[in-house]
Point group: C2
Chain length 186, copies 2
Amino acid sequence: MTNPHDERAREQIEEAKDQVIQAISETMDLYGVTPAAGKIYATMYFENQMNLDEMREELGMSKPSMSTNVRKLQQIEMVKKKFQRGSRKHTYIAEKNFFHSFMAYFCQMWEREVKTNMDAIHIAENQLSAIIQDNEVSEELREEAENHYQLLNQSKVYYHWLDKLVHSIRSEEIFEFLPKDETLKN
Amino acid sequence: MTNPHDERAREQIEEAKDQVIQAISETMDLYGVTPAAGKIYATMYFENQMNLDEMREELGMSKPSMSTNVRKLQQIEMVKKKFQRGSRKHTYIAEKNFFHSFMAYFCQMWEREVKTNMDAIHIAENQLSAIIQDNEVSEELREEAENHYQLLNQSKVYYHWLDKLVHSIRSEEIFEFLPKDETLKN
DNA sequence: AACTTTGTTAAGAAAAAATTTAACGTTCTG
DNA sequence: CAGAACGTTAAATTTTTTCTTAACAAAGTT
């Protein structure tokens, strides 16, 4: 490795990796992932497997910081724990298939959105329809309740669609409509 | 409005609205929107139009806070400024079509992800292929460069797919595959 | 059973983000 | 043209989040 060509090549490999690591951790920020966790993931992306100590050394972070960040990455399924026979150290592998991460993250997110909002809508709809059906209530308020009711009803179209989207992703049906294009020109 | 029925009805309408406002601002948090901005949007959602003063009063926030939050909401196209002839106050309307917000937000986000990462990948690929083609470099490093190159190449399948997804959303072709279901049972 | 090694909570410190008060600029009105 | 009404920018405060050091718990080894 004292070969001057190799030294230069090693530098260039690191530079190439850093480009991509930077970009990945920058865009993961869009997914509600903190920069630190993004860097951890992006670093692991180029390695076959790493344990907490190796990561800590590579990134100069503290042990608990690694621990919590890796846990978060596990929750969104971007990192998996690998059973390592005969070693007490936990070793992890980065999920390198971005389709998997995409599916896990957005389905989880959208499902929560649908559930939270539909639950609230159902409660609100009941309260509003009680008013609409109450003849003692003034016309003005009845109309307001009616308007809100219609608005909520309209929004359900969206939440149902979002739910269908989640299912088509989970079932991978979406790839029939939008195929993964394995053969790329450039 | 001193009618006791109406008083009760008014309370109940507010309660129904609050349910939904709470849910919306909670789930908007998933979209990188701060709770304050979420509340502003959700409040406007039930109104035809509002100006900054009305919102400030309704939510008990400061004037600059309103100003900056509304601007953020405009950026992600969840709120639009409405030209109001003869008034110096700016009035705003909430985008009530969630499909529109969905499309604007995710297309913007995914496009940035594709661009940032593809740019980095192109640079990295050039650096790596220079090493791969350099015969003076040791076999070991050549192999490492080759591995990274393959990894990046593989990831391009995903970014191309994401790009296609964005286009199919922008062009609304996606609704041919996943129709908006206007007639809902429940 | 005592000692190591590894990972995780807990508590405190540092950093980052959001919010408010205050000052400013602009545009309309009298 | 002076004054008022709105909105925005700047600076400072408060709140939230993140990170680190330190104490702890679990599991394994000698």
